[in-house]
Subunit: 109 residues, 2 copies
Amino acid sequence: MTDLCPRFEGAMEIISKRWVGLILFQLLDGTKRFSEMETDLPISGRLLSDRLKMLEKEGIVERNIYSEFPVRIEYSLSEKGRALKPVIQEIQNWANDWVSPEHLNENKA
Amino acid sequence: MTDLCPRFEGAMEIISKRWVGLILFQLLDGTKRFSEMETDLPISGRLLSDRLKMLEKEGIVERNIYSEFPVRIEYSLSEKGRALKPVIQEIQNWANDWVSPEHLNENKA
DNA sequence: CCGTATCCTTTCTGATACTG
DNA sequence: CAGTATCAGAAAGGATACGG
């Protein structure tokens, strides 16, 4: 079993991780700081931290530290991350065509 | 918090559900029977059943029953489901460019 | 063949509290 | 500000057995 396409599976494993889509969506808009992201996303700091670490490990997100005072840390997309733009774009297109804004929180069968 | 884009969030909630990507990938290839999918996917029958039911509820997958003998049941994509083809395609493109086939099972920090 | 029901284990999430 | 540690509850996942 399981041999659809190893690369595709690998990609899905990253992208389909919960919250990753929203994080990417946000970072495509530009560099962000931790607290900004935490404010704009519906997740706790711990989860955001987990995901950013994971995405950094995957080479999708870059973490830049500016030794000013106070220290500033910014997150942005790497080239690999920016390459996901078409994916996010297509999801957005599909969402516009097929998903109603009220959809959220309706999926408890 | 949370107001990136309700539609996008709704879309991500469906698409990023674990295994959904692989299921869509498979169905884009054509109509499939339950046992075929179970054989080709790395998930148990219970999960496959759950996901198909969810996708059917979302109007993405169609379930067709042919009253032959023995009864034959086939799954295929609805128009809404086929509209996801560009998304899957872009993920595939990204995977080809950026994901190594060995990637699987490396994400346990 | 095509599932559903149940049980049990693993993983994921979120709240809270605490460092540099 | 930018996280990490811990802990408990929720959700997801797999195995198995059974029904149409």
